[in-house]
């Protein structure tokens, strides 16, 4: 299977603080990889480096066989990102926001693309609404539409269902499963929702203090640590002293 993302021994230091301590991993085509870890474990820093927003102190990142450091623009054309901590311009309508980002990503057939995403994400009735006036569930679906506007081959998701009610959360998870199956994209999912990770991810990375402390398929990790679910594994690893390498 082809690796769309390959991370080789990346480190990130802020002064003397080591935020990420030399991690390596791969994400294959048509795979969802879960990125788990307590707050401050280095997940956001890792995502920032994959997006080219942060420069690794050392190490290399390859996306679609291109080295990120030398091909930032080409890589950003095939990647996208969603996080509850970033928003679309609040005063613009949903349609205006999607149109603007279509232009920034040089999308062909903009009208058809917006119609397709509106239909799939059930935001057709929201297109003329002011983005800032939407509910958090609606905003989340609109942000996801923006993140898919360029038909990314790699999607980075940071807490994509945080603060959503169970119905909307389930809708997003079902949508992601179907979209990945249909488009064969690769997804990196950072989440604190263990049932979500168990449901969506083929394999997971457990991070703590800037290191990968364990990795594998959710079921294998549960069996390996003698627990009944991934949340218990998470708690065990996050409370431990890195003896699980």
């Amino acid at each position: 299977m082809k690796s769309l993302i390959e991370v080789r021994d990346i480190k990130k230091n802020y002064g003397k603080k080591e935020a990420v301590k030399g991690i390596s991993f791969k994400i294959e085509e048509n795979e969802i990889l879960g990125l788990l870890g307590p707050n401050g474990s280095g997940k956001t820093t890792t995502i920032g480096m994959l997006l080219g927003l942060l420069k690794p102190t050392s190490g290399e990142i390859f996306i679609n066989n291109l080295k990120l450091e030398d091909n930032r623009i080409e890589i950003l054309e095939i990647i996208n990102f969603i996080s509850p901590y970033i928003e679309l311009p609040k005063k613009l309508t949903v349609k205006q926001n999607l149109y603007v980002y279509s232009k920034l990503y040089k999308v062909q057939n903009i009208k058809e693309r917006i119609e397709y995403l509106s239909d799939k994400l059930r935001i057709g009735e929201l297109l003329n609404s002011i983005t800032g006036e939407l509910s958090s569930g609606q905003k989340n679906r609109v942000s996801l539409a923006k993140a898919l506007i360029n038909e990314p081959r790699v999607l980075l998701l940071d807490e994509p269902t945080a603060s959503l009610d169970p119905e909307v959360g389930d809708f997003i998870r079902t949508f992601l499963e179907e979209y990945k199956r249909e488009k064969k994209i690769s997804i990196l999912l950072a989440s604190h929702n263990m049932s979500e990770v168990t449901r969506l991810c083929k394999s997971v990375l457990m991070m703590k203090n800037g290191e990968i402390i364990d990795q594998g398929k959710p079921d294998d990790l549960i069996a390996k640590h003698g627990r009944t679910n991934l949340e218990e594994v998470f708690l065990k690893l996050s409370r431990s002293k890195n003896e699980f390498n």
Binding site: Y14, T44, T45, G48, L51, G52, L53, L54, K55, I73, E74, L76, E77, I79, N80, F81, S83, Y85, I86, E87, L88, P89, K90, K91, L92, T93, Q96, Y99, V100, Y101, S102, K103, L104, Y105, K106, K146
Partner: protein, 263 residues
């Protein structure tokens, strides 16, 4: 450079302005108030001093020129700050936009914002005060161009600070023009400044622009050297601002400012 992406970012701000009547009003309101105020002051000085009695519109013309500079610079900063305030900054920097495309789009948008505010105010000066800025003739274009370049340069310098230091740099963004105004000799000849201040003023393009505006209106002559010097200093500061912006962008990538912006 992609014109599509430049247009896309321009559209983001165009939609923002055209969707909101208060925003349009805000763009027009301050230049109009400013120019009306300086129009009356100008009339007063013209009738009570000998220095200005040959050219009634000197103060008002300089006020209009300064306002254009101020609007361009603040306009550029506002475009950058809008992205921070709306928490859209990360979305913008993960889009496949080159730095040159972002800057080009903001430069064009800042010009349009300034003109939206200034054109109505300029049109008011003729019926209200009997003064036309067009008295500067063809050289008006060069003076405006020079001010536009310097306004953009200041905007890029402040945006570099925002990139490097984050939203905490916002207060500096508002005060830059006020810091430079005394050295710009906007309303008075450079001889008015103490000697040390004159040395500082001579390394800014502003003093050449405003000295030349006064020269054209009062003496009815043109000193090309002033216009030439203004462009030379503009080129120096503009190139420095671009270098600083790229440096700040790379520093922000090292420091992590880009991912934390707006938080």
């Amino acid at each position: 450079m992609s014109l599509t992406r430049i247009y896309g970012l321009f559209l983001r701000h165009f939609y923002l302005i055209t969707r909101s009547f208060p925003r349009i009003l805000d763009l027009v309101y301050w230049p109009t108030i400013q120019i009306t105020l300086w129009g009356f002051i100008s009339n007063f000085f013209a009738t009570h001093t000998t220095y200005y009695n040959n050219a009634v519109g000197v103060i008002l013309t300089c006020a209009i020129l300064y306002d254009f500079l101020f609007r361009t610079s603040i306009g550029f900063n506002m475009l950058f700050l809008e992205e921070i305030w709306s928490r859209n900054f990360t979305n913008l920097f993960i889009a496949p936009m080159k730095i040159g495309e972002i800057l080009t789009s903001l430069v064009i948008t800042a010009l349009i914002r300034s003109l939206i505010g200034l054109v109505p105010a300029i049109l008011l000066t003729s019926p209200l005060f009997g003064i036309s800025i067009l008295d500067l003739g063809i050289f008006l274009f060069f003076l405006f161009l020079s001010l536009y370049i310097f306004g953009i340069t200041l905007g890029i310098l402040v945006s570099s600070g925002l990139l490097r230091f984050g939203p905490s740099f916002e207060n500096i963004a508002w005060s830059t023009m006020f810091l430079l105004a005394p050295f710009g000799c906007i309303y008075y000849p450079i001889d008015t400044l103490p000697e040390l201040f004159q040395k500082i003023a001579y390394i800014l393009p502003l003093v050449y622009i405003f000295e030349e505006a006064r020269n054209i209106l009062i003496n009815q002559t043109v000193d090309i050297e002033n216009i030439y010097n203004a462009f030379i200093w503009n080129a120096v500061y503009f190139i420095l601002s671009i270098i600083l912006f790229y440096y700040s962008f790379n520093a922000a990538k090292n420091k992590g400012t880009l991912i934390n912006m707006g938080e």
